[in-house]
């Protein structure tokens, strides 16, 4: 009898609350500041394009990206500040605000939309969640969570997220449109440890509405909690 009680208690002890899981995921995926060199490979059927960029981020609401390759896009910059996204296009030496329907287009033709770029990964704040099971996903033992948006302001009203039990980061996500259709899937892998933080350094995004389309994002030389110049997140930096 004692053995059974101990077993039941141990199982409950191993199942954290959904809030705890979300807090852990948020702690891993969010940061004060981060810099990274990113390689983004966009595959659309026959065409493969490789982009290289420097990324700077501060908190959930400020991010800046500068493209280094390919040659055609070298010097292109993007600045996310608050709820707005700006893009500097070197070929016309002009800053353009990305808004309206443009936000739903793929960033540089990738499966990652500008809207995705605007989205924060603060699950706890944005979604109500329930644990719907424990499953193995991408070779990792995971909690399967169903997340429902608390407000209409988020890009995806519903998402199913598989959270790695060990690293407490998402390893697979299915993102739904309002109609209930899966519109995107994310696979996150190659988790690296940065101090106490675990962070997936490889993400593969597939737009389910486009056949043969896939975007791989590789984070290279990533650093967290680094000092960043204030100017990086200003309009001045865009057309500097």
């Amino acid at each position: 009898m004692l053995t059974i009680v101990c077993f039941v208690l141990s199982v409950f002890a191993q199942t954290p609350s959904v809030e705890t899981i979300l807090d852990n995921v948020d702690r891993n995926m969010n940061f004060e500041t981060r810099t990274a060199q990113i390689q983004m490979t966009v595959t659309r059927g026959r065409r493969v394009k490789v982009y290289e960029m420097n990324s700077f981020a501060r908190g959930a609401n400020e991010a800046a990206i500068e493209f280094n390759a390919p040659a055609r896009d070298r010097g292109t910059k993007m600045l996310k500040r608050g709820g707005e996204l700006w893009m500097y296009m070197p070929s016309i030496e002009k800053v353009q605000k990305i808004s309206g329907h443009m936000l739903r287009q793929g960033m540089m033709g990738s499966d990652l939309s500008y809207e995705d770029l605007m989205e924060t990964t603060q699950f706890r704040a944005l979604y109500d969640a329930t644990i719907v099971g424990e499953e193995e996903q991408n070779g990792r033992a995971c909690w399967r969570l169903e997340l429902t948006a608390k407000s209409e302001d988020v890009a995806y009203p519903r998402r199913t997220t598989w959270v790695d039990k060990e690293h407490m980061v998402p390893v697979h996500e299915e993102l739904y449109a309002l109609s209930g259709m899966v519109v995107k899937s994310w696979d996150l892998s190659d988790v690296q440890t940065f101090g106490e933080r675990h962070f997936p350094t490889r993400m593969v995004i597939s737009d389910q509405l486009q056949t043969g389309s896939q975007t791989e994002v590789l984070f290279q030389e990533m650093s967290f909690s680094v000092a960043l110049e204030e100017e990086v997140f200003s309009q001045r930096w865009l057309d500097r």
């Binding site: 659309r44 065409r47 990305i98």
Partner: protein, 429 residues
């Protein structure tokens, strides 16, 4: 027979007021028919001319592009066009072939916010803008493209788009489009001229050298389509029959692959088989036939009315003629001849007046104004519509006028022929 002929002539002149009424009916019928047919042919011709100008007598695209035509997918493109254009231009019946890229863009004057004005960019060899679209003749401000490389960053802009953007010749404009991969792609263009093409579609376009559009779409050596022009639009059938056996080899040579990575072929289509023009042509034919039938019917009713009056008036006379040995066929022929005499005079006058009216309207045209600008971008409708009169149309209208009279007189003539001579002679008429 001579007697019947003379009787018909006499009857024509006998009741001049009734004959004039019949002639007037045919006159209005023929005049209306001439004008109506001129308009239908004119409107159809305007659409055809604009369609051919915009899309070539024959158009070559990838099969994958043809399958997704409605989406205007620039990612389904012909990655190398030079060798194909050279081969096509060497073919009999082909006068010219032009690679072209078209896509929707957001437009603004340099220095202003992009995002309010939408237009369409057209990238093609400058000879296409010159010889096919005749843009130099349609300049209302500024000048045509410079010679050679100097034209690289120049553009001509349609009247409506220029107005919406608030851009003038000599100013710089920004156009925000997409690469074939879907990435935002901007270009800066010096607007050297503003053109008034008279066509709603072209007036919302900006015309740039092919190389500029190739950069914007990131198709460095290719285009979305190749437009092929023969000596006239009837040559499209011959061009297609020559080109069809070569398509497979052409597709293999440029290694065509669709967006999903699958091998794709080339697709050719004649100007009159592509939508929406194929449907428009069918509709125009239906309208033309309906107009003709309605006018013929109304006119025939008028003729029937007056001829019936004539038969009723002459019942006793017909009885006498029949009793004197005139056969049923001769009576029918006599009335038909009378109707045809009247129709010939009324129809000829009607056709003359209708032709003069059509020719006058052909010169002035009817300006549809802003109504045309609301048409979809795929419909190149001219802003000013003209009827298209031709002697053949007048002949058709005249022949139909005579047919109207014949149809209108048939029933009264048969009625007259069926009258029993004895009964007819008893009547007071």
């Amino acid at each position: 027979m001579k007697t019947v002929f003379l009787l018909a002539v006499r009857n024509t002149l006998r009741n001049s007021r009734r004959s004039a009424l019949t002639a007037a009916t045919v006159f209005f019928g023929c005049a209306l028919l001439t004008i109506g047919l001129s308009w239908v042919v004119g409107i159809q011709g305007n659409f055809i001319a604009a369609s051919v100008r915009a899309n070539g007598h024959v158009r070559l695209v990838t099969q994958a592009h043809a399958d997704r035509e409605a989406l205007q997918p620039i990612y389904e493109n012909i990655s190398q066009t030079d060798s194909l254009v050279t081969e096509i231009e060497a073919m009999d019946d082909v006068q010219a072939a032009f690679p072209r890229i078209q896509m929707g863009v957001m437009a603004s004057v340099d220095g202003e916010e992009v995002g309010e004005v939408f237009g369409q960019i057209v990238g093609a060899p400058i000879t296409y803008f010159d010889t096919v679209l005749s843009l130099e003749e349609k300049l209302i401000d500024g000048r045509f493209f410079s010679e050679g490389q100097a034209a690289q960053n120049e553009g001509l802009i349609g009247r409506s788009l220029a107005r919406d953007m608030g851009v003038k010749a000599g100013e710089e404009a920004i156009f925000l489009g997409q690469t074939q991969d879907g990435s935002i792609s901007p270009i800066r263009v010096t607007v050297v001229g503003v053109v008034d093409t008279g066509t709603g579609l072209f007036d919302k376009q900006v015309f740039v050298p092919l190389s500029k559009a190739q950069w914007m779409a990131d198709i460095p050596e290719g285009a979305v389509e190749i437009l092929i022009y023969g000596s006239n639009r009837r040559s499209s059938t011959r061009i297609i029959s020559q080109l069809t056996p070569r398509l497979e080899a052409m597709a293999q040579r440029v290694n065509l692959i669709d967006i999903e990575g699958e091998s794709t072929g080339l697709s050719i289509s004649s100007w009159n088989t592509r939508e929406p023009f194929a449907s428009m042509l069918r509709i125009a034919r239906i309208i033309m036939t309906t107009v003709a039938i309605i006018i013929v019917f109304i006119t025939a009713l008028g003729v029937l009315n007056t001829m019936l009056m004539s038969v009723l008036e002459r019942t006793a006379e017909i009885g006498v003629l029949r009793s004197m040995g005139m056969k049923v066929g001769q009576v029918v022929f006599m009335f038909a001849l009378e109707a045809i005499f009247i129709a010939t005079i009324g129809g000829a006058m009607g056709v003359i007046v209708g032709s003069l009216g059509s020719i006058a309207m052909e010169a002035s045209g009817v300006d549809l104004g802003s109504a045309v600008s609301n048409l979809p971008d795929t419909v190149p409708a001219n802003r000013v519509l003209h009827p298209d009169w031709s002697p053949a149309l007048s002949l058709i209208a005249f022949a139909l006028g005579v047919v109207m009279a014949f149809i209108g007189s048939a029933s009264p003539a048969l009625r007259a022929a069926r009258i029993q001579p004895v009964i007819a002679m008893r009547t007071r008429r």
